[in-house]
């Protein structure tokens, strides 16, 4: 199965890169883009056919390595 892991800074953590991108978009006239948060995206190929197992494995990997729980949170999609 494939798991997709999206890692972003927690809402309480200032994201200077996202802010800079948002300001760049505003300077291009995209005033309707109110804010931007930059993150990371991972695709994991997993040797399992069980959705629950895949999700648990992806979460474990995200907790241990892909995300730093001090500053980041993550979201997982499995298919």
């Amino acid at each position: 199965m494939r798991a997709r892991v999206f890692v972003t800074l927690k809402p309480s953590v200032f994201d200077p890169q996202g802010r800079t991108i948002a300001e760049a978009l505003h300077s291009l006239g995209y005033q309707n883009v109110e804010d931007v948060r930059q993150g990371k995206y991972f695709e994991l190929d997993l040797a399992t056919t069980e959705t629950a197992t895949a999700r648990a494995l992806a979460a474990e990997v995200a907790d241990k390595v892909l995300a730093n729980p001090v500053i980041e949170s993550y979201r997982i999609e499995v298919d």
Partner: protein
């Protein structure tokens, strides 16, 4: 005293730290390759600056898994003095040996300049011969030195007096203008609860000789030499560290 300087693939201040220990202070020094698990009898460990493992994923994130980090953790657990400088600080954060995390600098720029630092705590092995409130002028060079800790963690480390250095103006006054990277509470260095592990973004090894523009970094090395040779009333008992 024997300094162990840990070398990760991508470390680039390892030679500076080694030079400071060996040539400036006349101590024994050993490079410790990240794949080794032998600390070669080191009395003090330095995790130097650089870009360990290319800083892939996050700064310091991959270095945490290097084989040497097991013995480093055990050494720290025995009370041995460990200093992380710049990238070494980031590695100690990712390893969980120090609290908090690093974000991109507030202004997104890599900052390479001299900064002023106020010594907040003198009961760590790396600040014990400094005096509280002393202002040090030491260079930084980093893109991700914006120290962050969640509110609860921040309260704890302030209450425990774990903030060792703060960015200030030349008179030792904290202000936003003199904070080079946006670090919360102007934090430039922290220690663990036991106070034997210290991480700092500025580079003391680059400020040990007048030729390099200043000698204020010497106090960091002189402190650990004092801690290791005299023990004394300040800080943890370090004599046991190497055993």
């Amino acid at each position: 005293m024997r300094f162990g300087v840990i070398v990760f693939p991508g470390s680039n201040c390892d030679e500076d730290a080694y030079y400071a220990a060996k040539d400036v202070f006349g101590q024994e020094a050993e490079y410790l390759w990240h794949k080794d698990t032998d600390l070669k009898g080191a009395d003090v460990l330095i995790l130097p600056g650089g870009f360990a493992h290319g800083d892939y994923l996050r700064t310091g994130a991959m270095a945490r898994f290097s084989p040497i980090m097991g013995p480093v953790r055990a050494f720290a657990g025995r009370g041995g003095p460990v200093l992380g400088i710049c990238n070494g600080f980031q590695i100690l954060l990712e390893s969980g040996l120090l609290p908090g995390a690093m974000l991109r600098n507030r202004g997104l720029k890599y900052r390479c300049e001299h900064v002023h630092l106020r010594v907040e705590q003198t009961d760590t092995p790396f600040t014990r011969v400094a005096h509280a409130g002393q202002v040090l002028r030491i260079p930084i060079g980093h893109g991700e030195g914006n120290y962050f800790a969640p509110v609860d963690t921040l309260k704890t480390i302030e209450a425990n007096r774990q903030v060792v250095l703060r960015y200030t103006d030349p008179n030792g006054v904290v202000s936003d203008e003199w904070n080079p990277n946006g670090s919360v509470n102007a934090i430039a260095a922290v220690c663990n609860e036991r106070r034997n592990v210290v991480g700092m973004m500025p580079h003391p090894e680059r400020a040990c000789e007048p030729l390099l523009g200043g000698v204020d970094g010497r106090v960091i090395f002189e402190s650990v030499l004092s801690a290791l040779t005299s023990g004394g009333s300040k800080g943890p008992a370090l004599q046991m560290a190497g055993q």
